[in-house]
């Protein structure tokens, strides 16, 4: 489409302004993680790597990081398994209430985290008598992580159709061989993209985590939140935030590249 010169200028300005609002504050966080001034005076009087060293030596941070990785891996594993199975069921088989099941699977991502958190907390604590801990965090995260895998796999299955699986069976491959040689390779990038998104979602989750973690378990976002208002911890929190920006951009970027590549098929 051809746009007038003024229209183009206006649209570029709007784009720039929109992106600036999102990304300049993030840039400030990254710069501050090197800020030599303990109270983050702006502009920074000098740059230092001290805070990065301090953050690395903080055992609380490292424990929290490990907890978060465990939670994200656990939730992603559950999401991959259940999300894929649900997507196959909904896409490949006709059964009573299929649309309703699909809606119920997707719903948790739209539910306010605080509602999910309270509901899970009550159920685990009062109804089931399951002690809150890492396990309950993983289950809590899995409720919405399943959605990302489910949606990715569903979209892929829809585009794939059944004819190449029929072709495989026609050429003599039994059901398992067809899955191994045809269906799974065609699904792989969708699973990877869904898994990475799910990992990223779980990794920075705080609301559901707050309600399901109990006393002993501290994920990284919770650790940040607890240390945010302790003046002597503030520089370390900044470093962690800066590292998290990089860590969460990476999976999203990878997921986008993977799905982009796969769409060539």
């Amino acid at each position: 489409m051809n746009l007038s010169r003024t229209a183009r200028a206006a649209l570029w300005t709007a784009l720039g302004a929109g992106l600036a609002v999102i990304y300049l504050p993030l840039a400030v966080v990254v710069v501050n993680s090197f800020n030599a001034d303990r109270t983050f005076g702006w502009p920074p009087p000098g740059l230092t790597l001290d805070w990065w060293g301090a953050a690395w030596r903080s055992t609380g941070m490292r424990e929290a990081l490990w907890t978060s990785v465990q939670a994200a891996l656990g939730a992603t594993a559950i999401a991959l398994l259940l999300g894929t199975m649900a997507a196959f069921a909904v896409q490949r088989y006709a059964f009573f209430g299929r649309q309703t099941v699909s809606l119920l699977i997707v719903l948790p991502i739209a539910l306010p985290g605080i509602v999910t958190g309270i509901a899970l907390s009550n159920t685990f604590h009062s109804v089931l008598g399951v002690p809150l801990g890492l396990f309950t965090v993983i289950v809590g995260h899995a409720t919405f992580c399943v959605v990302t895998v489910y949606n990715n796999v569903l979209a892929r299955l829809r585009r794939l159709g059944v004819s190449i699986e029929e072709a495989s069976a026609d050429l003599g491959a039994d059901t398992f061989t067809t899955f191994r040689l045809v269906t799974f390779p065609m699904m792989r990038s969708a699973l990877l993209a869904g898994g990475l998104l799910s990992f990223a979602l779980s990794f920075d989750e705080i609301i559901v985590t707050t309600f399901t973690a109990g006393a002993g378990v501290r994920t990284l976002p919770i650790w940040i939140f607890e240390n945010l208002f302790r003046p002597n911890q503030a520089p370390v929190v900044n470093v962690v935030a800066a590292a998290l920006i990089v860590l969460s951009v990476l999976p999203i970027w990878l997921a986008q590249r993977i799905t982009g590549e796969a769409s060539r098929y």
Binding site: A169, D170, L171, G172, Y265
Partner: protein
């Protein structure tokens, strides 16, 4: 029943298939001989593709049996049947190279020296040098040939082809018709070919089954089906129907019923021209003249009622001559042996 019944490549008995309340196949009996090029012809929704899928094993019949080489395979899965399919959309594996696609059937069946056989199959469809390409990097005609090689390399008892030329343009389609026929003659495998294109069915096959509404209307050689259509549907679907019925049949032919004459059997003559022995004729008004290069189509409204289409080769005449015939009175003459009663 013939005693060589067991030698039939495909035998369908009382085959039925319903999808919900829709009966896609409503009782089909069919025998295809070994080495035959058999066409299943019919409009979309006539059940021909469903019959093909029932033979391949992608669908389970509601009733009836499917036999391959005398063996009942009705309850067997597709991978337990000695048939291979060329799919309408080719269904090539997008994540595999051309060679891997062709090797696939041999690979899953753990056949030795599959590389040589796959290369051989690719050569037989003239695709040497394309081994490493992905399906996405091929043209429609090339994909079609990969699909063919991928199926043929397994040397199945029966090769099923589901409108394999449907996605190709006219020129390529005509080339592939000749090529398919040559390949079939060479390998000697039974071909069961689904198409909605009557010309394709007539030019390529040894026998044709004409499908309508889940049933077979007629089975016969192309000439039989074309020259002696068994029903009004066949007459209309395979070529131009040209029916004479009711009062017109009484007036022109002096008999009751519905009769069909193919357009190219009609001669356009002057109204006063005498009619020879063993000939029938009808007078009428030329309402339309369609000049089509090698031939001209005359649409003639009969005085006795009804309308016939006559096809005349343009042996001597030019477009100017024939166009002048519109609105004139003519006599259509044909030999009696070219008119057929229709049920």
């Amino acid at each position: 029943m013939f005693k060589f019944m067991a030698d039939q490549a495909v035998a369908l008995r009382g085959l039925r298939k319903s999808f919900g309340s829709v009966e896609a196949v409503a009782g089909v009996d069919l025998d295809v001989a070994d080495g035959e090029f058999f066409a299943m012809l019919g409009p979309s929704g006539s059940g021909k593709t469903t019959v093909l899928r029932l033979i391949a094993g992608f669908e389970t019949p509601t009733a009836g049996t499917v036999e391959l080489g005398g063996r009942d395979v009705t309850r067997l899965a597709p991978f337990e049947r000695d048939v291979n399919t060329v799919f309408q959309d080719y269904a090539l594996f997008p994540h595999m190279s051309v060679l891997e696609n062709v090797e696939y059937g041999l690979r899953v069946k753990k056949v030795p020296n599959r590389r040589e056989r796959a290369l051989e199959a690719l050569a037989s469809v003239r695709l040497e040098g394309f081994e490493k390409r992905r399906p996405a990097q091929l043209s429609g005609g090339q994909r079609q040939r990969v699909a063919l090689a991928r199926a043929l390399v397994n040397r199945p008892r029966v090769l099923l082809l589901d409108e394999p030329l449907g996605a190709l343009d006219l020129k390529l389609r005509e080339e592939m018709q000749v090529e398919l026929k040559a390949i079939q003659r060479e390998v000697g495998i039974t071909f069961v070919f689904v198409t909605h294109d009557q010309e394709e069915a007539l030019t390529m096959s040894d026998r044709v089954a004409v499908f309508n509404a889940g049933r077979i209307e007629q089975i016969g050689s192309p000439a039989e089906v074309y020259e002696r259509p068994a029903s009004a549907f066949v007459a209309g679907f395979v070529g131009t129907s040209n029916l004479i019925s009711g009062a017109a049949a009484q007036a022109v032919l002096g008999k009751e019923g519905t009769f069909s004459v193919r357009p190219e059997k009609l001669r356009v003559a002057a109204p006063e021209e005498p009619v020879g022995d063993g000939e029938h004729s009808a007078t009428g008004l030329v309402s339309e003249v369609v000049y089509a290069g090698p031939a001209t189509r005359f649409v003639v409204d009969l005085d006795a009622g009804g309308r016939l289409i006559a096809l005349q080769q343009n042996l001597q005449v030019s477009s100017m001559d024939v166009m002048g015939l519109r609105g004139t009175r003519v006599r259509l003459v044909w030999h009696r042996r070219h008119e057929f009663a229709i049920v």
